[in-house]
């Protein structure tokens, strides 16, 4: 029993949301709302409400990056200053806190930004190998819904999509 992936293309969000609503209402078997992957040319906030709460964990990493940055900044700067052979003091202490705060602040942002971006790339699955199930229309104006189903339900789901204003349906074997 092999599994198939289906991509159905819709004209606009309204059509796509109708389909989602119908899937939620169990009008077609073999597809759960959690399996739905919705592709769109723009970001639509309603997608989240329609598909249910899905977690976004980037902020935790950002926080971790920021905390690391500021701690690292403090220890790095003060230990470099303390171990420096000569002390360019100009009447100032060896470890001048106010000036170090400036750099700690910069390091906070630096590490926070980089962790955010790196985590974004990983968490959103960018740069990973993907299936070929894709339509170029997705970057123009059409909305795609991807579902993964068993072979047995292939036809029924296809029909379901067709009946619900799908413009085009593509499929691939997993």
């Amino acid at each position: 029993m092999s599994r198939h992936r289906l991509l159905a293309m819709f004209k606009d969000f309204d059509d796509a949301f109708d389909v989602v609503d119908k899937i939620k209402a169990k009008e077609v078997s073999g597809v759960e709302v959690d399996d739905i992957n919705m592709m769109s040319p723009i970001e639509h906030p309603e997608v989240d409400t329609k598909l249910g709460k899905r977690p976004v964990n980037i902020a935790y990493f950002t926080l971790a990056g920021a905390i690391f940055g500021v701690t690292f900044g403090f220890f790095f700067l003060s230990s470099a200053q303390a171990s420096f052979l000569v002390q360019p003091q100009g009447g100032k202490p060896v470890v001048p806190l106010p000036t170090n705060f400036v750099l700690m602040y910069e390091m906070l942002i630096f590490f926070a930004v980089w962790t955010t971006v790196i985590c974004f790339i990983f968490l959103s699955g960018l740069g990973q190998k993907r299936g070929t199930l894709y339509s170029e229309k997705l970057t123009v104006d059409e909305i795609g819904i991807v579902v993964e189903i068993d072979e047995s339900e292939l036809d029924s789901v296809k029909n379901f999509f067709k009946n619900n204003k799908a413009l085009e349906i593509r499929e691939e074997k997993v």
Binding site: Q81, A82, Q87, P88, Q89, G90, G91, K92, V94
Partner: protein, 280 residues
């Protein structure tokens, strides 16, 4: 560079000038310049050129303001009223003040300028990357930058044989300034160490002080209470420390002052006021 070190000695590393800084000075070299007997003859400046491998920049570069005189004699006319400069000119030998709380030090990005245990404001030429921030931040404007490779035409053969091998010739792109003749200090220290004694007053004298025909410049260690310099500082009631001097002005003979004392930079050079007989 261990955390332990930082944590254990944190309060020590946090001491600033008000708490006496973290430096424990071996010496604190200082100078006194008596403006009353300074005649403005330029002898000091010449001696400095001879001692410190200072480049002759030539007319065009001098015109641009790129001359390299570590020790310059400033001349002021302050007679705005009256037809004649009856009071004469005012001369001021100006050199690096080797400030105790030097404003040039904290701004150098690579720490090419810092304080030595001798209380000198050092400039390490080979560390300098030429950001020129130090000079911008110097109220006295006594730091000189090598805007060109002056060595290329300042010492045509055989003039280069005069170059003092005890200090380097500076190439373009580095800042330089008066060092209180560090090479002489170094030699004197070595000599004292060789003779197994402490450095005495008069062991080291800067080129300018040695040449000064009127003896207006006195150089020495202000930490040594017996040195001529510290006696002069004492006499004129000026003390080391970055803050404005409070003088007990019962005696007007107290002529000592430090330029830009109000900036709290703690200069190492004590000037004695010029005296003019206004009765005549």
């Amino acid at each position: 560079m261990s955390f332990k070190n930082i944590l254990e000695n944190f309060s020590y590393y946090r001491r600033d000038a008000e708490d006496g800084g973290h430096h424990e000075y071996d010496h604190r070299f200082g100078m006194t310049i008596d403006l009353d007997i300074c005649t403005g003859c330029n002898s000091c400046s010449t001696a400095c050129y001879a001692e410190n491998n200072l480049a002759v920049v030539g007319k065009e570069r001098f015109e641009k303001g790129q001359a390299m005189h570590w020790m310059r004699v400033e001349r002021y006319w302050d007679n705005i009223e009256g037809d004649y400069a009856e009071e004469g000119a005012k001369f001021l030998p100006m050199l690096c003040q080797n400030c105790g709380a030097a404003t040039c030090e904290p701004v150098c990005p690579v720490a090419a300028t810092y304080h030595t245990p001798d209380g000198l404001n050092a400039q390490v030429y080979n560390r300098c990357i030429g950001s020129r921030y130090c000079s911008n931040n110097c109220p006295f404007r006594v730091r000189y930058f090598n805007f060109w490779s002056y060595y290329e035409d300042s010492w045509p053969e055989p003039l280069n044989m005069q170059l003092n091998p005890d200090l380097s010739v500076r190439d373009k792109g580095v800042m330089e300034k008066c060092t209180f003749c560090i090479q002489r200090i170094r030699t004197a220290k070595d000599k004292a160490q060789r003779e197994e004694r402490v450095m005495a007053d008069g062991d080291v004298v800067t080129a300018c002080a040695q040449a000064c025909p009127t003896g207006a410049i006195v150089f020495g260690d202000t930490m040594d209470p017996d040195s001529r310099v510290s006696k002069l500082w004492e006499k004129h009631q000026v003390h080391r420390g970055p803050f404005l001097q409070k003088k007990d002005k019962t005696n007007e003979e107290i002529r000592g002052y430090r330029i830009f004392d109000e900036l709290n930079v703690d200069p190492s050079i004590l000037y004695l006021e010029r005296v003019r007989d206004t009765e005549v």
